[in-house]
Subunit: 194 residues, 6 copies
Amino acid sequence: MSSSFAFDPSPLQDICVAVDEPKNAVFVNGKFCKNPNLTVADDFLFQGINIPRDTNNNVGSFVTTVAVDQLPGLNTLGISLARIDYAPYGGLNPPHIHPRATEVIMCVEGELYVGFVLSNQLGNRLVTKVLKPGDTAAVAISSLSSQNPGVITVANAVFGSKPPINPDVLTKAFQVDKKVIDNLQSQFWYNNNS
Amino acid sequence: MSSSFAFDPSPLQDICVAVDEPKNAVFVNGKFCKNPNLTVADDFLFQGINIPRDTNNNVGSFVTTVAVDQLPGLNTLGISLARIDYAPYGGLNPPHIHPRATEVIMCVEGELYVGFVLSNQLGNRLVTKVLKPGDTAAVAISSLSSQNPGVITVANAVFGSKPPINPDVLTKAFQVDKKVIDNLQSQFWYNNNS
Amino acid sequence: MSSSFAFDPSPLQDICVAVDEPKNAVFVNGKFCKNPNLTVADDFLFQGINIPRDTNNNVGSFVTTVAVDQLPGLNTLGISLARIDYAPYGGLNPPHIHPRATEVIMCVEGELYVGFVLSNQLGNRLVTKVLKPGDTAAVAISSLSSQNPGVITVANAVFGSKPPINPDVLTKAFQVDKKVIDNLQSQFWYNNNS
Amino acid sequence: MSSSFAFDPSPLQDICVAVDEPKNAVFVNGKFCKNPNLTVADDFLFQGINIPRDTNNNVGSFVTTVAVDQLPGLNTLGISLARIDYAPYGGLNPPHIHPRATEVIMCVEGELYVGFVLSNQLGNRLVTKVLKPGDTAAVAISSLSSQNPGVITVANAVFGSKPPINPDVLTKAFQVDKKVIDNLQSQFWYNNNS
Amino acid sequence: MSSSFAFDPSPLQDICVAVDEPKNAVFVNGKFCKNPNLTVADDFLFQGINIPRDTNNNVGSFVTTVAVDQLPGLNTLGISLARIDYAPYGGLNPPHIHPRATEVIMCVEGELYVGFVLSNQLGNRLVTKVLKPGDTAAVAISSLSSQNPGVITVANAVFGSKPPINPDVLTKAFQVDKKVIDNLQSQFWYNNNS
Amino acid sequence: MSSSFAFDPSPLQDICVAVDEPKNAVFVNGKFCKNPNLTVADDFLFQGINIPRDTNNNVGSFVTTVAVDQLPGLNTLGISLARIDYAPYGGLNPPHIHPRATEVIMCVEGELYVGFVLSNQLGNRLVTKVLKPGDTAAVAISSLSSQNPGVITVANAVFGSKPPINPDVLTKAFQVDKKVIDNLQSQFWYNNNS
């Protein structure tokens, strides 16, 4: 599992609107900036976070990310947003990690069972809470402390990697019959958030 | 799953040997420093990383951490070490995350199948390598970019948290029969690394 | 005007719930942590961000901050939220600075005229946008990249400081008749956001 | 008002003398480096900070900045300097903010009334001091904790932005008659520091 | 030789005037803050940087540091100053390192031969410059990018450490006759800057 | 002596394998990234750290660095390794500084006399320890908290710079007869670590 830690670049000028890397150059860590005199107000605008998304999929949820790839004006600002739509009765955003961000979640509508698990040193304690009553489909807005927070959906990374992890490793790590691992690795792993 | 990101404190003096927080105070982020004039050379010494550890456990491996709790002179230095002993033929250090560090692994003895999985955005690609031939039990030394890197063993955090995660959530997230989840949650989750 | 720049502390453990500094200690930069074994789920919960606020004041707006003082679990996480309620037809959040944060604003309801001014080097260019049609009172949610972003309302800091700035300085800086400055300094400066 | 916070890049090699971005590339956050083998001692030299500047302008002061644009060897070093010349009897450097730096001011000659205003949370307290007696024109040297500290002159940003801020917004924010705002917005805003 | 690298803490509030650690507490990395409501303008003032210092010592120079120990208001600001007085004709500030800061030097009076040596990777290239003509004693003002930059005078650290470094080590490292090392280690090492 | 302080870039994506700067571009601080889809497992592999090195040189030691130039996958990860081989009976790694890293040393074989000198503020105290008995040639593995830690060998930087430091400066700084300095500057300075 990728264990990279991270931090966002810090601005050295007022604004640094992200552009695709220039012709004849290759990838850099982060993004290049548009000439500040050529920036326009729309470089700082993302529209449509109010539009409900289709949650008719395996996990019953959909994540709409507003990070630097969607909103180039976020470049070097160290912050991003996401909207999560949940299907009524049982939609879930599966266990995941943001390798480059912390997160604050606000429940806008509906009722959400949320939580996080602490590390080994603290005994893998689970901290949970049910957020806000309501019986419709829930919607949450999440703020993340990075312009490119990343996401690793645990089940997808462990059982749906390409190529697959050696099944003997997973059989021992998860302490189950190898058939369970084979079955898990042969599933289609839907990705509700990339 | 805990998604905290992290960074180590940076020194504001030559040395800051960690001490337990003083009487009448409580926890702080990081550690307090010993009076520099009272520090001794042994504050900067950890002994016994050369001693083989017993790997006779469920996963066939044992991690010996040399971080700030074991070596107080590491305080504010942003670095730590670990020794991993593997049982011959199949010892493994199960899939895990270091929420506050990157890592470089050096195989000292034996042969190791190592790898990491990239995040959703890069399609959960698995990158692997077999390190160094040898047919005895393997030993690896790992350097970590934090004085307190932390570790989250994925299987333990997902199936062995206390209290357990709601099994319906895991049933849907892992797309298996609920009996598989019940079985996984009822196991004893050995922790080879805390 | 305070020109401090800033950055949030980074965690050295999974969680560091803020507590008042212990007896016999004084202020530190940031906060002390609760013993992690004594933390409860409510340390990570803030309730009531959905409740409309009274905007019947001089500027016609009210800011509800959810930062480390309101939500102690945010300590060391480098992120916070705010809700801004605006009175219908002309409520405004006056020109201000967050000395320790960047910000992303999401208009939840109504229509907002928003903008920012670039620095001297870029000619004090004003970048504006009208967010979302609607004719009711507007509500916005703001995410900030600090657990304690701070705010400096420009007019209040310049004309309502305690004690007042020497009026001759302001007369020259703003290039107006001294009576205008005297008048501005004698007003009551309502603070919609502290 | 631009609320960007900031931090300077940190060197990954001994020196990184700034050069204009290479042909076929566009702006990046920060600067490119000269090939270290082609650097010369003059890349690290700025001359003329001892030369008095003309302060015959609206505010009676002139700021000479020695930042990365003037001294390319400062690139990645996180520090810069400025000289401020003040006209005798009443020259002033108007209220301003450095969005990417803290500052220490040393009065070399003359007498300076200096101060800063704290944020809303601390009641916009004004902290002032008169530095050093003397009755000639004053000269100050300022050290700033960034290679590109930036400056936002408050009056210019609020009343002299291009295009102007909606006068109704300012009328309400400053709680004055709209004529005062119209008058302020129609002035010529001299910029003593860019 | 101490190779600690460093970074200054960043403020989480407007001001954090350093105070001695509270009763019943011990050293922390950095300083505790005074209650902001008890701070006074003098916490931000250092007087006397204009007073010439006596340079009648072995190296013919004297360094007056204005860092967090001398000016408590610098706490968390990441910047400091120093004045260096040089004796006429040959006063020198011996080769040294600031383990926690970069530096910009401004020659106020006299003529200074200044320089720095690059690291092994760049062939230990020496970069020098003679600053400003004049034949009187020179005075320089130095800005440093840390509130506690530290200093290691190379000759003092290598030959004047307490206890001394094993002379056989130095004999081999400096490739000289052991008598030269014995002689160097038996000298009195005047420290012009602590 | 170069006093640059440093910090490593932080990733904004999972991986950023270093490549030479692209055609038509020049040096940047740090490295460019390979297109992540073109990376291969070997980008993350360095082989041969187990091979003993020849220590038949003036100082009787050889340093094998595994930093970003040798292992491009380390780019943006903030960590590196080194192997140090010492000749039997008296091999030494001469006094040096890592301007951009802290270090943890593990003695794998043999016996090592190690230490560091504190800064002037702490009286240049020497802290030493003899690591692990053994009478063969020693081997140590060192972990460094930077992808490009750099090294400045003190004797080489002071007496072997190119061009040489003015000998009168060194005569006074080291308080020895000028002949000793002339002799030191005329030596061949072997560099065991670049």
